[in-house]
Symmetry: C2
Subunit: 458 residues, 2 copies
Amino acid sequence: MNKNLVEKFNSIIGEKGKVLTNEEDLACYSYDAYAETPVMPEIVVKPTDYEQIQQVIKLCNEENIPIVTRGAGSNLSGGTIPKSGGCVLLTTGFNKILEINENDLYAVVQSGVVTATLAKAVEAKGLFYPPDPGSMNISTIGGNVAENAGGLRGLKYGVTKDYVMGVNFFDPEGNSVKGGGKTVKLVTGFNLQGLMVSSEGLLGVMTDITLKLIPKPKTSKSMIVFFDDVITACEMVSAIISSKIVPTTLEFLDNFTIRTVEDATKIGLPTDAGALLLIEVDGYEGQVEEEFSKIFELANKMNGRLKVANNIEEKNKIWEARRKALSSLARLKPTLILEDATVPRSKIPSMMRAIQEITKKYNLTIGTFGHAGDGNLHPTILTDRRDKNEMEIVEKAIDEIFDAALNLDGTLSGEHGVGTAKAKYLEKEVGKGTILYMKKLKKGIDPKGILNPHKMGI
Amino acid sequence: MNKNLVEKFNSIIGEKGKVLTNEEDLACYSYDAYAETPVMPEIVVKPTDYEQIQQVIKLCNEENIPIVTRGAGSNLSGGTIPKSGGCVLLTTGFNKILEINENDLYAVVQSGVVTATLAKAVEAKGLFYPPDPGSMNISTIGGNVAENAGGLRGLKYGVTKDYVMGVNFFDPEGNSVKGGGKTVKLVTGFNLQGLMVSSEGLLGVMTDITLKLIPKPKTSKSMIVFFDDVITACEMVSAIISSKIVPTTLEFLDNFTIRTVEDATKIGLPTDAGALLLIEVDGYEGQVEEEFSKIFELANKMNGRLKVANNIEEKNKIWEARRKALSSLARLKPTLILEDATVPRSKIPSMMRAIQEITKKYNLTIGTFGHAGDGNLHPTILTDRRDKNEMEIVEKAIDEIFDAALNLDGTLSGEHGVGTAKAKYLEKEVGKGTILYMKKLKKGIDPKGILNPHKMGI
């Protein structure tokens, strides 16, 4: 980037170390949590107030410099890779919790606040912010909204979109825009706070986000159920939901993942189990006991072996099995491709059968785990990107996994987003008319294509 | 409308009585539930399938004929008054419940399905569709989504937007667009199902809507609490929420409304009460009992007289007081102006004080009732539109009610929408930048301004 321009950015930010142009600094922002060829930005800025953010946007608009807004870069779809160079606008320095309102049950945060930081602050006041994406210890609320992050509690409590009451943001010209607010009911104008959800940085640069909070559940109970057979485990998922129980969490690990986790952690999982379910129910005591009894009964009927966590240590051990799934799998081969196909919950057994068939057909190493309760499986392909022949086969397998999900009324991505990763597949799911509508919407809002261009295939 | 054009509409619909052009027929669609000067459409069509809807849109686009999509016309903001003539596209003939899925907890309906019809069909299967706008016996799901309809259960269960999982719609050119789907988690593309919420017919013509369902609560308890003083009643609302109880319903009637309802119904309300709260808690038995005890305790502490409904008759009687509020008030004077200002819940006492001051200052007849639990009050001004002097005063009072709500971090409209009623006030709440963003969005999607033009002031 030419010196003159860099000087303009410097004069906006006005603080040392918050405008980066050295190659080694830029390199850190050339990739994100999605494994893809890095692309270097030309400049990285780390504004700390509204004025700076607005001025950066105005400057980029005038100079036709693309902006990639980036929080922790923990997204799994290449959403923050700066495909066309330009400016990475880091929100991590814009990270104040502005308000936690106990009377009205909402919080207002700046977009760079880390999810776990908010969750803890809220919990200290006896309240609860349920969305818990796997990356919550580093991910930012702005990123969570942009990607509509999911998590383990999606089944009962929904995902990020279900908690967004209001969003203030700047449009690509630096105008200040306000969607929603602090009231539970609000219908003044288009649902712009809703539009910011899943917008992946293409429609605005978020500043303040108002999030709904709920009272903390009184009590909870965690359990683990082992099954000899993977399909029976999947059928148990449907059986639970059909009996009108909505657990907080209902996670699944297949035999391959169980063995890999046990190898890595030695926490004592039975490696001969075909699959396991991790289940947590929460709420009022009577309700929790009733739901637990029903699940216990179902598990017996379906030949599952249920183990309940009797204390916090046992509970933590149960959840460690799930938390270590991805990192344990990642140790096995150089490249890990984490898929995110999602189906209506009752279709989980059919989806699992399809994944098994595809695994066998192409002789691939696939470990499957995920949020079975909300139909969101993560078939994880272990491979080596340098092996071109195998990569061709992997591509075919991914295509077939997507086809299977769509045939079952599902979606290509439950919680990871489109970014660059799923761009080429998007039309398959949503159709030509939808892509056209998205393009017209983007063009109307951002005619010069300043905000995160070349993403989502539009 | 010229004969040639009418013939084209006839050849699309192809059924007698479903294309209306007679003045007396058109007159029925020149107004809606919002009291405003009627405007005649040029033609009314009642398509019954996807193909017909698509062809009508394509024809209107080609011929530059504005389209007002209309369900029951029960909106309270003039959203379905055909400001620029053109074509009223009635969805009431497009009213099939396509699927109620008990295993995956969703329903798919065509946009013309009546809300109460869906609610009953769902309840028959042990499930629950919570949004219950006052007009639910006639309103359509399409209209509910377009207006983001609220209702009495918003406090605990949220509003229409919280139940919209997917929307299929046509864009202004008749292209088929798909937002969301049947999975709890779904992040493929922009949140177009979210964008349809509150879009008031400006951004697409909805066809199929996928709605989230939840298990029916096990039990519930209704009660009524009388207070000598209106402000104490409002403080009780905050006290309940602050003690982390979220009732299903928490409704408020002021003394004027109590007296008016009692006059009209003779159900035995104490006409000397300063205000009353109608409260319902639901869920598991233990939880309901615990919440009831806490509310009972709070009521005692705040000198409220609590009466619990011991059976379904008593429960119905309690709710009749609320259901009859609007119609009872409407008997008093020729013109009823129902406002919809909404504030964060803890600000209800301040808002009520402001309404009292404004009532006194302008010497107006205002009855206030509403969904106090979610901060959504309906101050209802009784007047006579023919009295120009009083109407000028009424306008001033409305301005001050809005200012009070905005000063308390609230909104001009909690659940009734913008339409033509609030168009001129909108900028006051959302600011210039937001109006500009909405205009750019609308222009991008609908450059010719075919869909419900001249609404929302954009």
